[in-house]
Symmetry: C2
DNA sequence: ACTAAAAAGACATTATAAGTCTTTTTTATG
DNA sequence: CATAAAAAAGACTTATAATGTCTTTTTAGT
C-alpha cells in the first residue's frame, strides 16, 4: 500500500534529469523522455502540470523546450510529488477537519495525521539538487 | 497520494470494533458489519484474511462468529493494515534490493526507504487496545 | 509561409478497487 | 441424524482510476 503511481515515478525521473542539466539549457521533451525511458506523450502531460504551477518553464515553437522554474535547491521532492499525485493523504479523513462523521470519536484519525506529517516532512527535506548530484 | 483503500478503512473499523467488545464474546460478522457500516459480504472477505493469519479466530456453524486472535494490546495497526493492503511500499524499488536497474545510481531510493520505515514505525506503535478505548 | 515545438482535449485501454452471488464446509442442537 | 446457522471459498460483476495514445490547436522562431 501507499504506493507511488507510475506517473509520480516518471515525474520524478523527468524533473531530476532536467535538474541535472546545465541551468540555462533548454531541453526538448522528447529528449528528456528518451533519457529517462518514459512514453513521451505521457511525460508531456506531466510536464504540462509542472508548467502550470511554475516548477518548470516552457518555451513553445522552434528552439523551445523546458527548463527548471527555480534553482534545483529550491524545489523539493514534496512539491514534485504533490504536483502530479495530489496532496499526501493517508486516509480520506485527514483531508479536512470534520470531514468524517466518526470524527471526534475516532482514535485512528490522529495516527493518519501523524503519518501525513512525517511523510511530508521527509519529502520536503529533499531537494532536486540533492537528487540530481551524482 | 498514499491513500488507504476503502478495504483498509473497513478492515480497521471492523477489527477495532471487535477489540472493543468483551474479550471472549463471539461476534457475528453480520453484527460487526452493521455496527461499523460496511457491506457484510465485503467485510466477510476481509475477516477471512484476518483469520488466515490469526488476527482473529473464527467459529463456524451455529453460535459461531469471530473473536480476536490475540489480546488487543498485542495487535498493531501495522499488522491490520498490511494484512489487507499488503506491505507498505512507497515505491516499487523498495520491495527488494537490486530490484530496480537504476539502483545504485538512484538518489531517490533511500528517501523511499526512509518513508517506508517511518510509516511502519508509526503504525506499529499503535495497538488495537489504544484504538478501541473510548 | 513554413516548421518546430508545447498545450489542450478527446479518446482508448488496462488494471485495480469494490462489491455481489452462489455453493460448500463446518458445527451446534433439537 | 436432520436441520439450521454460520463462516469459507470461488466465480462473477461493476465502478473507478491508472496508463497511455491520437488529433488538433496555439505559439514562436527562421
Amino acid at each position: 500500500m501507499m504506493e507511488l503511481t507510475r506517473k509520480g515515478e516518471y515525474a520524478i525521473r523527468g524533473i531530476v534529469f532536467l535538474a541535472s542539466r546545465p541551468p540555462e539549457q533548454v531541453c526538448l521533451l522528447s529528449d528528456i523522455a528518451a533519457a529517462v525511458d518514459v512514453p513521451p506523450t505521457f511525460l508531456a502531460k506531466i510536464f504540462q502540470q509542472f508548467s502550470k504551477i511554475g516548477l518548470v518553464k516552457s518555451y513553445r515553437g522552434t528552439g523551445g523546450g523546458f527548463v527548471l522554474g527555480r534553482t534545483p535547491d529550491r524545489i523539493t521532492l514534496l512539491e514534485v510529488v504533490e504536483a502530479v499525485e495530489g496532496p499526501i493523504t493517508p486516509n480520506r479523513c485527514v483531508i479536512k477537519e470534520g470531514e468524517c462523521p466518526r470524527d471526534t470519536s475516532c482514535n485512528v484519525h490522529p495516527v493518519w495525521v501523524d503519518v501525513q506529517q512525517q511523510v511530508r516532512d521527509i519529502l520536503n527535506s529533499v531537494t532536486l539538487q540533492k537528487l540530481a548530484q551524482r
